[in-house]
Structure formats: structure tokens, C-alpha cells
């Protein structure tokens, strides 16, 4: 079949086309992050988090009647709180990433741009991760206050950042996968929160999980519980960073598997659902 071809007169310049492939994810990430922060959603969540963190820090550092924690344990508590909240908000934002766009009717416009589906998903994941990074930034002064005098400030911050990022990448990827699979945004967010509840529940038991090999396997199979156990082992028990590395296997695998699944299946998940106002 022969066709007379009309080419765009202006269109996209050749040089910028090459740049497009490289930076499409960056443009998406930038805009998604701006939307997240300028719309007020991110700021409100951070404001609430900082109030919570202030209260916890105040109680653990000044109130002698309530403060029964050692200084190291206080730092550990604040870091665990930061990871928990940071991962929670990252998961909520990523769970809204695809299903929310579908519901708001903004996905189709994105899909007809030449930016690849993978770049769009990568941009959305990065934007969701800014929630974790901001949560961590807010935590730094609190950790600084609590870690004074015990010489673990650098260690605590590096550890919290590394472990939190690992868990946030894993759960953020899972959130986007759930969002791509769900027809409705409410279902996506509810499913993601339910997952988070399951993962965090063991960490909230008053004395942790009972002892024994079965519960040890259970703890190590849970990416959140095992990541927090690693933080505790270093900060509270004073173990070296290599001593309990096995605790990081699950968080690492979660990040790799969920991230890999997102790379492989993401483009197929980033689609309109059948029957969406097709006339």
C-alpha cells in the first residue's frame, strides 16, 4: 500500500526526540512531584507527621516520668516511626498513581504522548518516593536531638535512609502494581493499606513476635518487620552492619521483585480499563 505522507511541519525537533527517550521519566517525575507538593496533599501529610514526631521526641527526651527508654532506643523508635510513616505515605501516593489518573480522566492524555509507558511509571514511582525522602528530611533534626551524646547520629541517619529507601521502593512498586490492576481508586488504596496493615501488625505487638524458628522465619519473610529488626540490631544492640545482613534479604528481594514486575508488567497495566466511556 502506498500513501502520500504528510510530515509534521514543526513537530518535535530531531535532537529533542533523542532527549525525549532519556528524560520523559524525569519530566513526569518533576510534574507529578510538583502536583503532589503544590496541591497540598504532601504538605498536609508531612505537617501531621512532624506533629506526631515532635510529640514522640518530646516525650522520649524530656519527660522523665514517661521516658523509660535508653537514648539509643529513642533514636530507634523515631527512625522506625519515620520508616513506617514514610512507607505509608509512599504506598498511598503510589496506589493512587494509575487508578487515580484513570478515575480523573487524565490517563488517556498521557498515553497518547510519545513518552514510553515505562517512563511514565518510573516518573510516578519517583514522585511517590519523594514522600519518603521528605519524611526522612523532617526526621533528621529529631534524630539529631535524640542522638546527641551517644555518637550514633551518622550511623542512624545512614541506616534509616538506606533501609527506609529499600522498603519504600519495594512497597511503592507494589502500590503501583495494585493501582494498575484495580478498576477503582478506592479499591487500590484500600488494598494497599490492608497490605501495609498486615506487614506492620507484627511490629506493633507489645513484645514483638514470640520466640522460635517459626516466628523468626515469619519476621524475616516480612520486608517491613525484617528491615526494622535490622535497624534495631544495629542501633539498640550495637551489632555491626554485617552481623545481621540476612534481615535485609527480604526487603531487598521485595524491592527487586516488585520493581522488576513493575518494569515488565507496568506497560500493560498502564491502560484504560475496558468499557471506560467508549462511545
Amino acid at each position: 500500500m502506498t500513501l502520500q505522507v504528510a510530515t509534521p511541519e514543526v513537530g518535535t525537533p530531531q535532537d529533542s526526540r533523542a532527549a525525549e527517550g532519556r528524560s520523559g521519566w524525569l519530566v513526569v517525575a518533576e510534574q507529578e512531584s510538583r502536583d503532589l507538593w503544590t496541591s497540598g496533599r504532601g504538605l498536609i501529610l508531612l505537617f501531621l507527621f512532624s506533629i506526631l514526631l515532635s510529640a514522640v521526641t518530646y516525650l522520649t527526651s524530656t519527660n522523665q516520668a514517661l521516658n523509660f527508654l535508653e537514648q539509643r532506643e529513642s533514636v530507634n523508635l523515631v527512625l522506625q516511626l519515620a520508616v513506617a510513616v514514610g512507607v505509608l505515605v509512599t504506598l498511598v501516593v503510589s496506589a493512587d498513581g494509575i487508578s487515580g489518573e484513570r478515575e480523573r480522566g487524565t490517563l488517556e492524555s498521557l498515553l497518547v504522548t510519545p513518552v514510553s509507558r515505562r517512563s511514565i511509571i518510573a516518573g510516578k514511582l519517583i514522585a511517590a518516593l519523594t514522600m519518603w525522602f521528605a519524611t526522612f528530611l523532617i526526621t533528621i533534626p529529631y534524630v539529631w536531638v535524640l542522638a546527641r551524646g551517644v555518637g550514633i547520629l551518622g550511623q542512624a541517619l545512614a541506616l534509616g535512609f538506606f533501609v527506609g529507601t529499600l522498603v519504600a521502593v519495594g512497597l511503592g512498586s507494589i502500590g503501583l502494581l495494585i493501582s494498575g490492576l484495580c478498576n477503582s481508586n478506592k479499591t487500590s488504596i484500600a488494598a494497599s493499606l490492608f497490605l501495609l496493615l498486615i506487614l506492620f501488625a507484627p511490629t506493633q505487638l507489645p513484645s514483638g513476635l514470640p520466640q522460635g524458628w517459626f516466628f523468626d522465619v515469619l519476621r524475616r519473610a516480612n520486608p517491613v518487620d525484617s528491615a526494622l529488626a535490622y535497624v534495631s540490631s544495629m542501633l539498640v544492640n550495637g551489632h555491626s552492619w554485617t552481623q545481621d545482613l540476612s534481615y535485609l534479604i527480604t526487603p531487598l528481594l521485595t524491592a527487586i521483585i516488585a520493581g522488576g514486575a513493575l518494569v515488565v508488567a507496568g506497560p500493560r497495566l498502564l491502560r484504560l480499563m475496558p468499557g471506560v466511556s467508549a462511545g
Partner: protein
């Protein structure tokens, strides 16, 4: 010389056992405005989504600006789309929104800024460039959506119900912009709409879909004649010449002439029996020629059944039956 920019050949989309679009074929050329018509659920939106690579076809093939359906990325570079009921980020400004999409097409920040300003001016939103989209009226949002569809200077622009929910002034504004896109940018516009009189005015070609299939395609005139609609006409002549006009028309044996009781200066003409389509038009033309030849001033001559809406209803109801 115009060139073919859209060619769809037996395009089919199935969802499970249900066929949303079946064997849809049509073409469009540069600078042409093609009306994609059909009742709700006829397959208009699905056809647009197929041609813009949002959906993958179950069968058939298509070319956009010479790019085959398998070259999705190339097609996306040369099409602009206003989706049906597309949403907008409420907290972004119109300017910010267009700059974002311009950058998705690889434009630098400065080029994106200047392009956004140009496009906002084109759609008459330059004064609201810095306002958040949440403050825009529906018409303004539709115009912003059209501006967004133009950020890559597309060869083909697909507009899915751009006038939906707009008041008459808003509809007229949008139709003016559509004309401008086709004329000054030489882009092909595929327009899905329910505004049949407007389609008749702006579209050079029409594709009527029904139940996922092309009921008829061609120029407005061809579609109307294909529909084979029985024609009648209203002829107004000076009251004192009505009898003379009746006598002239009596020379046409297959033409029934009646006088309206409430308007005695108006004669209704109807072609008898199966006199339809081209044959019907011939009789009407001959009758009108005879009236003018008899020096009877024609104050009004209005054909019924010769409008696109008549053809539309005929074609879509026939397929149902």
C-alpha cells in the same frame, strides 16, 4: 496537493466475545475535517482510541501520516487528541499544563513556555494562562484540551466530543478553532460529535458508525443521497400567484402539490411513490426550474429530508431494524 493522512482498513476491536468496532474503513486527507458520527455506543471513541494507539486493534490495520499501526511511537508523535470527558489537574494553571505536555514531546523549557503562550492565545485563553484550571469554565477547559492536542503540531487531530456540554456560544467558539486548525495548520481533524448541523457546516467528509460498523461514509452530499431519503419541499410564492404555480406544477404527474391551510402562500411538494434520492431530486429540480421559467418569484424553497440529520437518523435506524 493534498495527501492522505488517515487510512483505516477493516479496523476491528473485540472485548471478549463482544465486538466494539468491526471492519471500520475510511480515509482522510490533509486539511480535511472528517465528522465521525453515530449514536452512543456506536464505536466512535473506540475508533479514535484505536487510531491514536491507546487501544490495540483485534484486526485490520491503519496508517497515520504514513506510519503503520505497528509504529505506535511514531504515530503518537504526529497525532493530537482531545479525549472524550478528559479530566484536567484542577490545581495546575493552563500555562503549566501545556508546558508539561510540550516537554513530554521533548521541547526545552524555554520552547515549551513560548509554545504554551502561543497555543493559549490561539484558543483565546491568554488572559487566563496563570489561573488554575479549577477556575475554568467547561468551555475553557475544552479549549485548553484542544490547545494541548496541538502541542506537537500534529498532522492529525482527533477531537472526541469537543462540544459536549457547551452552550451555543461555546460550541461556536470550539467550531471556529476547529476550522482554524484545519485551514491554517493544514491538519486533518477527525471530529466526533452529536452536533449534526455543525458537522454539516464544517466537515468535508462524514463517517456514520452504527453498532461498531460504518453505516455510510463520504461527503455530506454523498451521505445524504446514499441514505435515499424521500424528499418533500416547501415552496413559498406570492399569494396572488399560487394558483398559477399550482397549474405549472400540475405538469409533473408524479408530484403531489398541496396548499398549507395556515399558510396559503406555501405549497408543499412531495414526490410520489418510490421517487427517492437522485430521482426525487431530479423531479424537485425540474419543478423549481418550471416555476422560475414561468416568471413566478420564489420567495422560499426549502427541501425536507435533505439534511445530514435526516440521513443520520435514516442510516442509524435502518441498521437497527
Amino acid at each position: 496537493m493534498t495527501s492522505m493522512t488517515v487510512e483505516a482498513v477493516r479496523l476491528t476491536k473485540n472485548y471478549g466475545g463482544r465486538s466494539a468496532v468491526e471492519d471500520v474503513s475510511f480515509t482522510a486527507s490533509q486539511g480535511e475535517i472528517v465528522g465521525l458520527l453515530g449514536p452512543n455506543g456506536a464505536g466512535k471513541t473506540t475508533t479514535i482510541r484505536l487510531l491514536t494507539t491507546v487501544l490495540s486493534p483485534s484486526g485490520g490495520e491503519f496508517w497515520i501520516a504514513g506510519h503503520p499501526s505497528t509504529s505506535a511511537n511514531e504515530i503518537r508523535r504526529c497525532v493530537g487528541v482531545l479525549p472524550e470527558s478528559g479530566g484536567y489537574p484542577a490545581h495546575q494553571t493552563g500555562d503549566e499544563y501545556l508546558r508539561f505536555f510540550a516537554r513530554l514531546y521533548g521541547l526545552s523549557r524555554s520552547k515549551a513556555r513560548s509554545l504554551a503562550a502561543d497555543l493559549l492565545a490561539l484558543v483565546g485563553l491568554e488572559k487566563r494562562a496563570g489561573s488554575t484550571i479549577s477556575t475554568y469554565s467547561r468551555g475553557m477547559r475544552q479549549r485548553l484540551g484542544i490547545a494541548r492536542a496541538l502541542v506537537n503540531d500534529p498532522v492529525v487531530v482527533f477531537l472526541d466530543e469537543p462540544t459536549l456540554g457547551l452552550d451555543p456560544a461555546g460550541q461556536a467558539q470550539v467550531l471556529d478553532i476547529i476550522r482554524t486548525i484545519a485551514k491554517s495548520r493544514a491538519a486533518t481533524v477527525v471530529l466526533s460529535t452529536h452536533l449534526l448541523p455543525e458537522v454539516e457546516k464544517v466537515c468535508s467528509k462524514v463517517v456514520i458508525l452504527n453498532h461498531g460498523r460504518v453505516a455510510v461514509a463520504g461527503s455530506v452530499g454523498e451521505v445524504i443521497s446514499t441514505a435515499l431519503i424521500e424528499q418533500s419541499a416547501h415552496l413559498r410564492v406570492p399569494l396572488d400567484l399560487v394558483e398559477r404555480a399550482r397549474n405549472v406544477l400540475a405538469g409533473f404527474p408524479n408530484l403531489t402539490v398541496d396548499q398549507l391551510a395556515e399558510q396559503p402562500d406555501v405549497l408543499t411538494l412531495a414526490v410520489d411513490g418510490a421517487g427517492t434520492g437522485g430521482g426525487s431530486s431530479d423531479v424537485m429540480n425540474a419543478a423549481l426550474a418550471a416555476i422560475t421559467a414561468a416568471n413566478i418569484p420564489v420567495l422560499r424553497f426549502e427541501l425536507e429530508g435533505a439534511r445530514l440529520s435526516d440521513a443520520f437518523f435514516k442510516m442509524t435506524s435502518r441498521a437497527v431494524a
